[in-house]
């Protein structure tokens, strides 16, 4: 079982990296990019025997406690069996 977690800065927080990438894309001639947000992608390999609801709860707990700083970041995740 695999959990994929996506972490990005909250929309109200300035993302200096996203800004730089946005400028870079413009310089390379890519038009039509309105905004760039750079985030993190975390993959967890989980014990296959774990019930999916329990896995969901655990992953959420992991996000809140360690993987995400909720002062500046928000997250989403999906679990695949």
């Amino acid at each position: 079982m695999k959990a994929e977690i996506f972490v990005k800065l909250k929309s109200e927080v300035l993302d200096p990296q996203g800004k730089a990438v946005s400028g870079g894309l413009k310089n390379l001639g890519f038009e039509g990019v309105k905004d760039v947000r750079v985030g993190k992608y975390i993959v967890l390999s989980l014990d296959d025997k774990m019930p999916i609801e329990e896995a969901g709860k655990k992953v959420q707990d992991m996000c809140e406690k360690l993987l995400v700083n909720t002062v500046i970041e928000e997250y989403a995740f999906r679990i695949e069996g």
Binding site: L9, E12, V13, L14, D15, P16, Q17, A20, L66, L67, N69, V71, I72
Partner: protein, 232 residues
Amino acid sequence: MFAIVVFPGSNCDHDCYHAVKHVIGRPARFLWHKETVIDKDIKCVVLPGGFSHGDYLRAGALARFSPIIKAVTDFAKDGGFVVGICNGFQILLESGLLPGAMLRNRALKFICKDVFVRAANVKKTPFTATYTEGRVIRLPIAHAEGNYYADAGTIDELKTHNQIIFNYCDKDGNISDEANPNGALLNIAGISNKQGNVLGMMPHPERASEEILGNSDGRALFQSIAQHIEGA
């Protein structure tokens, strides 16, 4: 007695020890991050700079789960003095002992240089009590994630309770965007908790404590807290 916490990846632990022990001549010892007790004789805990746990995931994110942080939290609750410098400040933020968070520097680069900061609300913390209000001091910074952020409500709280202790400024004390090295909100370089016994700051006072280093503006911070402890 001062205690300097050593996390795996602490780099400024020996520098802080040197500043306390050899520059201002006060007793100091190291505290390993796996320790769980802060002895009674320890009056001030220093969380030093460095790259605890490699700064992997986020600066300070992993260090906050070191056993010692629980002890530091209790120590602070009981009124013990805690100062976090650079990575130590980041750890205080991650562990919730201070509000807010650090973003990457707006130029996305590590910056190591001398900056000017203006001391405000100096009576709020015993670390700054001997600085005069509004004094401009020169201190080195060395970080990649020192771009302080907090939501508007938190910033209001900080202001209301006089918790903003250092702001980046120019040599004349003007707090301007040009004088802001990393993009920190309100040029914030250091804040305290509401009670004033916990201070977090990005600049390194221990690197500016001796004439031979070309700068001793930071020494007063260590002297100030030492005098306070001895007077208490």
